[in-house]
């Protein structure tokens, strides 16, 4: 399974992920997105990561294996670094 991490320093609770990957994400009591144990379609998870306006979702593991088909496209920008 891919590892999915939601960075709560970045998440703003926009909830785009809950639409992009139905079931895979849910907002917690603070309104922040939490990954729900899967399995979920890899393409949905990739879509959720892409759709996040805050770039808060990271899907790790080999992207080819998990259906990220946009080979050659630029990586998502890194979150702000301290």
């Amino acid at each position: 399974m891919p590892d999915v991490v939601v960075d709560h320093d970045l998440c703003a609770g926009v909830a785009m992920c809950t639409q992009a990957a139905p079931g895979a994400f849910a907002l917690n009591d603070e309104g922040l997105s939490e990954y729900q144990d899967g399995p979920w379609p890899a393409a949905d998870l990739a879509e959720a990561a892409d759709a996040c306006p805050m770039a808060a979702i990271t899907v790790t593991k080999d992207p080819k294996q998990y259906g990220r088909t946009e080979a050659g496209s630029p990586d998502r920008p890194d979150p702000p670094q301290k």
Partner: protein
Amino acid sequence: MDTGLDDLLSDEAVNHPAAYYEKLRAEDPVHWNPRWNGWVLTSYADVAAGFRDHQRLSSDRFAGPFGQQLSAVSSDYQALFGFLSKFFVWKDQPYHTRVRALVNRAFTPRSVEVLRPRVRALVAELTGALRGAGETDFLAGFAFTLPVVVIGDYLGVPEEGRQDLRRWAEDLGAVIFVSGNDADRLRKGEEAMEQLAAFLRPVIAARRAEPREDLLSGMVAAQERGDFLSEDEVLANAILMVFAGHETTMNLLANGMVAFAGFPAQWDRLRAGPALAATATEEILRYDGPIRAMARWAREPLRIRDHEIAAGDRVLLAQYAANHDPAQFADPETVDVTRWPNRHTTFGQGIHTCLGAPLARLEAQEAFTALAAAFPRFEVAEETLRYNPNIVSRSLTRLHLTFREA
């Protein structure tokens, strides 16, 4: 509680918001303001929770207390209210969520990243023009131009007419950002809306006939798929993006320069470390972002601390106050370009979080980095900075700067 702080447009509230909101937050963080006729929330916790509570705190300007106010005049200003009523920001679910999902894809960090080379080139051009220029009008010469060209290109709006956008945006802003019914303001807003619609309508028709790689073409295609309900809906949300795409970013850039002028050591740090562009931009958004406060209204009764908010009550989420709350941010009156985490409320939070946030961030990162690299010093030429008297936006009336290359 009578705090003596009920004039949201007082000189102190408009020109010295840190001092004003600090008093209000300390005295009465959930304050009934009889003058504004609503609750004013000034603590970080309450403002953030308010943004996330979209179920109970509505953004719908055409229902509830705001709707009553508008319906009294809306028949006299049909273009204005016809289009405003289709702005998805002013809607609740499900309309908001449907339209947001349609346009979200174009504004994700990955999508806007393709604009970075174009933004960088434009910033270089605008920065070059400041060299040796002496005192310059930063709002007109830089802060307005950058975002309006970027959003204009992205949407696919022709270059001619972009200069008119600033006036239209000002006239629309006077309606959008200010509550109350002032006939002159509404008449100007109606004219601006008609002119914007007349400007964009033929562009939309042209994209329908001959699609290009731009956002308007994408929106037209979405309508043809049945995702947008009508051409007017496309037009309304294109107007929203033209408006939202530059007004706020302009003010972010201007407010940022004023902030850096007050903290020159932070300018030096950014100059030495362009890798700080991202955190520096978040800190400017926190310290003096372009939005001061956003209004909501209660769809149902709710309790905030020991206050009962009744159904139909207006609630003002004071972002500037939240962003300066010492309970959330250490040394809130100090600019620290390395501050992280920095969960400011300037873009809002929850489902209405600013759609354009990734684009605004990109533009500000590029602008601040390039200006810091080019100019070790700059001075604010204004003796006294004045801000437009406005509850929602934090916008300077004028900002002249003098940039120094050594």
